[in-house]
């Protein structure tokens, strides 16, 4: 028998904040996400969604339990290795876009590649191609404050996917957008998912965003209380219409 390697695997993860265990954000949480699968985590404020995302990103460490990305145990890595893992395996998109205000769209998108030490020309070519893919080629040299909310999120998506990460994490990717723009972004994510076969984990309040996923997990008081399969195809192959 071969052991299955999940893209994301959480086993009995607990996260407690405060010296006296004042806030228990996550209780014995377990989760597996397969390659190409799209999972939405929904829940009210304070349910532990962002904590979950921080732990998967390696930005925070669990109080107990195990988190593996592509079979790699995060707790076994030091900060630099976790950071390298993040920049090689995880694309991240945020509700507030988190673009660097002084950089142009092209420079923002090229940034993860440049942080990986790739040559400038190559990073720019790949960033330009990615911007073209998200429909923003003509805005390449604009700074974030010269872009609309939807355009900023497209740039953020381009930045998240420019290095072809196997996993894409999203924190309320449509939370700051009007519904039309939100839908547009979700359609883009859908297209890109089909194209790159990326594993997606979204944290959201938004039903529409959740419906874009194959599986919806409801999180309440640090525990999954419900799991719904939406019936969408999770493992879309590249080029699938």
């Amino acid at each position: 028998m071969f052991a299955v390697t999940y893209m994301i695997q959480l086993s009995n993860v607990c996260k407690i904040y405060g010296d006296n265990g004042a806030v228990q954000a996550l209780h014995n949480l377990s989760l597996t996400v397969e390659q190409g699968e799209r999972v939405a985590v929904m829940g009210p404020s304070g349910s532990g969604k962002s904590t979950l995302l921080n732990l998967i990103c390696g930005l925070d460490e669990p109080t107990s339990g195990s988190i593996k990305l592509e079979g790699i145990e995060l707790s076994a890595l030091d900060d630099d290795r976790r950071t390298r893992l993040r920049r090689e395996k995880l694309g991240m998109i945020f509700q507030t876009f988190n673009l660097l205000p002084t950089l142009t769209a092209l420079e923002n998108v090229a940034l993860p590649l440049r942080l990986q030490g790739l040559r400038r020309r190559e990073t720019e070519d790949r960033a330009a191609a990615m911007l073209e893919r998200v429909g923003l080629k003509i805005r390449s040299h604009h700074r974030p404050d010269e872009l609309s909310g939807g355009e900023r999120q497209r740039v953020a998506i381009a930045r998240a996917l420019v290095f072809r990460p196997p996993i894409l994490l999203g924190d309320e990717p449509t939370g700051n957008l009007d519904s039309a723009t939100g839908e547009e972004i979700l359609r883009l994510l859908d297209d890109l998912h089909r194209e790159f076969n990326t594993t997606v984990l979204l944290v959201t309040h938004n039903d529409l965003a959740a419906a874009f996923c194959d599986r919806i997990l409801s999180l309440r008081d640090g525990q999954f209380v419900k799991e719904v399969h939406t019936g969408r195809t999770g493992t879309a192959s590249a080029g699938e219409p």
Binding site: N54, D80, T83, T96, L99, L100, T102, L103, E107, L115
Partner: protein, 853 residues
């Protein structure tokens, strides 16, 4: 309301304690340097005044005639003048003892019978078996020592003490000691008393005195007696109150004191930029808070006052800490200054502990507080001027436009041009304060254009840094583009610090080159024998016999005796170099300008005319053909000026005359330097050793080869500028505090940005690199603008300041090699300054930074 605003302020201080501490430290350092120099200066002057006062005793008037003294016959005239209660002759000289570590001993030659009427000698009865030791001094070679000196060297009554006199080493018998009060306090106790007539013989003063101290009779006003004496005494003999003499000593060292004082302002000026920087940052950080305060009804005036009172409090704390630190440093400053006045001016000041001068405290405190408030003025005004509605949104962009607008750029350039024009075309006689006011206009203009310059520099540097340093390089420069005002304040602090470093280095280099050129023209004998290891000794001289002995040595071609002294001239003083004009003209003809050598050489060698230094001509507004009138003991000497030459030995200006003429009019055959020309092929070093053997044990003589003599003069130049260098180091240290401050704030302001870079895969090392590169960029731009400002400052110092202080301008030379060398030095220093902020940034919690939750 103000109480509530103070509460907000204190909360802010708590939240930004490092910024507040660094800013206050910047002010404290600036004040400390300023206060240390002022106190060191005041202690030096106190010491000079106290020395004159103690040596004068109860004298109400003193009679002098420059350094060469006057005929003893004048004493009879003075004593015979109605209204003189008593008058006592004095010979005052510094002598070297045979103790290696004793330093110089002040010898006071006084009339043993009557001097106690004037001066306070408290004799040690336990050490002296006689009722009046002064009477015993009339025995030849008797001496009285201060108890301090005797104790230091284990001397008792009856012991012998060897002193170097003009004609060789002499032994004296200690006849008693006096307590460390009154005269005994002078020069830290390094004082001895002997009979004035013995002193005349021992120190070869002929039948002359250096001074007569006198007291007016009761009922005769001092001014009346002064007029009466002036009418009685020949020209060249001066009658003044003792305080005028101490004032003259103070004037003699003015150039040095002013020079040091100027640089002491630099540290304070750098502190202004630090405060400006800090408050610009504070206002930037508190946009929202200001908007809310304005929205809830706080008036513009109160917002402004809130920031200004913060600055006031920082100024108060910084100034108090600075005064305490400065007082601690003032002893060291005083020690360096005493060394400088002794080395360069031959003025020996008593070492005395620093005293806390309340007036200096008040000045330093006021300036520290003023610097703080001035630095905070514009940021406070900016904060008060915020539109509450805009402040609640994005004000930064609007403000940046207004600060960096072309109108401001234009006014900055206009100020630079106007200030430069005023400096260039205003006559130097208006004095330094006016010239400095004009120079400040240039500095103000530079400060105004600085944000624009920083922005342009950053834009030029961005692609370069992007290429060299990758995305971290680009992000580092972006910080400057994003907040040019904040960066420009730090760059400004560095600019001022480096401006003075570069211009001082440049000035010193120019000065050195000028001195080298001059030395090559004028100082071209093979060997030199000097009376002192300082520029000159005003009291210890050789006699002409030594020159004759040296001339008799095999291998010596020619010996030239030189007298270098100071004479009274038109209410001030002038230096006189009395030289054997024949050989001087032979060696240094090319240095003389303004006259046809064939026509003037004969006149000069026959004492029918004089040469003057350029600074003398400029100071007194005289030229070739003008007749100089010099009041000498032998009468009024009138001679035409026959030519100019450069000479930098006295900022008062120098008159060159034939030695025979000087001896005739001043009855003074003392020698300060002996220039020796050797026969062809004679080894300089071997001959130097011969001359040293000849003088050893008998004369306090310093023998130099030509190269050594020039090196020695160069070392005096270095010593003259020591304190300036030390202060500039502090100024740069303060500027470095500014870098640390700016980077810490930059890290705090870019917290989110740094968090994002970390979140998308930026390593801690990359974040450190980003912050360190920002430090390097700030420093690099600081070096560029500092060198531009340094060039302007160099022109100002080498032309205007030098002309006002010394009467000559120094050729402009800008030390590019020094600027280039400063790039790696400043880079390393800025990296060190950036280390802590970089570490702080790298350790930042990403989740908190990007504002999850």
């Amino acid at each position: 309301m103000f109480g509530a605003l103070w509460l907000i302020t204190f909360k802010q201080w708590g939240a930004h304690s490092i910024r507040v501490a660094l800013t206050t430290l910047g002010i404290a350092l600036g004040v400390a340097v300023f206060f240390a120099i002022r106190t060191g200066n005041a202690t030096l002057l106190d010491s000079l005044h106290a020395t004159v006062e103690k040596l004068a005793g109860k004298a109400t008037l003193q009679i002098t005639a420059g350094e060469s003294g006057f005929s003893e016959k004048i004493l009879d005239t003075v004593r015979a003048t109605p209204g003189v209660q008593f008058a006592e002759p004095v010979i005052e000289t510094m002598a070297q003892t045979s103790f290696a570590d004793a330093g110089t001993l002040l010898i006071l030659g006084v009339d043993t019978t009557g001097d106690q009427q004037l001066r306070d000698y408290q004799f040690d009865r336990t050490q002296t078996q006689i009722s009046d030791p002064l009477v015993f001094l009339s025995q030849p070679n008797s001496i009285l020592l201060s108890r301090a000196f005797a104790d230091r060297h284990g001397l008792k009554v009856g012991d012998k003490l060897a002193l170097f006199a003009s004609d060789g080493k002499k032994e004296f018998t200690v006849q008693g000691t006096f307590k460390p009060v009154g005269v005994g306090e002078v020069f830290g106790g390094n004082i001895a008393v002997m009979d004035v007539y013995s002193a005349q013989v021992v120190f070869q003063r002929g039948r002359k005195f250096d001074r007569i101290d006198l007291m007016n009779a009761p009922g005769v006003p001092v001014e009346v007696l002064q007029q009466r004496l002036r009418a009685q005494l020949p020209p060249g003999v001066e009658v003044d109150r003792p305080e005028v003499r101490s004032q003259a000593l103070e004037n003699a060292v003015t150039a040095m004191r002013v020079g040091i004082l100027i640089t002491s302002f630099v540290a304070l000026l750098v502190g202004v930029y630090i405060i400006f920087n800090s408050f610009t940052i504070a206002v930037n950080q508190r946009w929202k808070e200001i908007g809310i305060l304005r929205a809830v009804g706080v008036e513009q005036g109160n917002v402004s006052r809130m920031f200004l009172s913060e600055a006031l409090l920082m100024g108060v704390i910084g100034s108090l800490v600075g005064i305490a630190g400065g007082f601690f440093l003032s002893s060291a400053a005083n020690r360096v200054m005493r060394g400088m006045v002794a080395a360069v001016y031959g003025v020996v000041a008593t070492a005395s502990p620093a005293k806390l001068h309340l007036d200096q405290c008040a000045i330093a405190f006021s300036l520290g507080v003023a610097a703080s408030v001035i630095g905070a003025w514009f940021p406070a005004r900016g904060a008060a001027g915020l539109d509450p509605a805009l402040a609640l949104h994005n004000i930064e962009a609007r403000r940046r436009e207004s600060v960096l607008g072309w109108r401001r750029m234009g006014s900055g350039l206009l100020l630079i041009a106007a200030g430069s024009a005023l400096v260039a075309w205003t006559p130097s006689r208006l004095g330094l304060p006016v010239q400095f006011a004009f120079a400040s206009i240039v500095l103000l203009g530079l400060t105004i254009v600085l944000p624009k310059l920083v922005l342009w520099s950053a834009r030029i540097l961005r692609p370069i840094l992007n290429w060299i340093g990758g995305s971290e390089g680009a992000l580092a420069v972006d910080a400057m583009i994003q907040t040019p005002r904040r960066s420009s304040a730090t760059v400004g602090a560095l600019m001022v610090g480096l401006m003075f470093v570069f211009s001082t280095a440049s000035y010193i280099q120019s000065y050195r080159q000028m001195i080298d050129r001059w030395m090559n023209q004028v100082l071209n004998a093979d060997l030199f024998v000097a009376t002192s290891e300082m520029l000159r000794s005003s009291s210890y001289h050789f006699n002409e016999d030594l020159g004759r002995h040296i001339a008799a040595l095999p291998g010596v071609d020619h010996v030239e005796n030189v007298r270098f002294t100071a004479i009274p001239y038109q209410g001030d003083t002038a230096a006189v170099i009395a030289i054997e004009m024949n050989s001087f003209l032979e060696r240094s003809q090319s240095a003389i300008e303004g006259a046809d050598s064939s026509s003037v050489d004969g006149l000069l060698t026959h004492g029918e005319g004089v040469l003057v230094s350029r600074n003398f001509a400029r100071r007194w507004g005289v030229g070739v053909g003008n007749r100089l009138t010099l009041e000498a003991p032998a009468g009024s000497l009138q001679r035409p000026i026959l030519g100019f030459l450069d000479d930098y030995r006295s900022e008062k200006g120098t008159i060159f005359m034939d030695r025979a003429l000087y001896k005739k009019y001043w009855a003074d055959d003392a020698v300060d330097f002996i220039n020796i020309d050797l026969k062809p092929g004679v080894d300089q070093l071997a001959m130097k050793q011969q001359v040293e053997r000849l003088t050893a044990g008998s004369f306090h003589a310093f023998v130099y080869t030509n190269a050594e003599f020039k090196r020695w003069i160069s070392s005096l130049v270095d010593q003259f500028f020591t304190l300036n260098y030390m202060q500039l180091v502090v100024a740069v240290m303060i500027a470095i505090l500014g870098i640390v401050n700016t980077l810490l704030i930059s890290v705090a302001e870019r917290r989110r940005e740094i968090g994002i870079v970390r979140a998308i895969g930026g390593l801690r090392a990359q974040i450190r690199k980003l912050v360190l590169l920002e430090a390097v960029v700030v420093a690099f731009v600081g070096v560029i603008v500092g060198s531009v400002a340094g060039m302007l400052c160099t022109v100002f110092m080498s032309h205007t300041v030098s002309l006002v202080l010394a009467g000559y301008s120094v050729p402009f030379y800008f030390p590019w090699e020094f600027v280039l060398l400063s790039v790696p030095v400043v880079t390393v220093v800025s990296l060190a300054a950036g280390w802590w902020p970089a570490r702080h940034a790298a350790c930042m919690q990403v989740i908190e930074a990007i504002g999850y939750e």
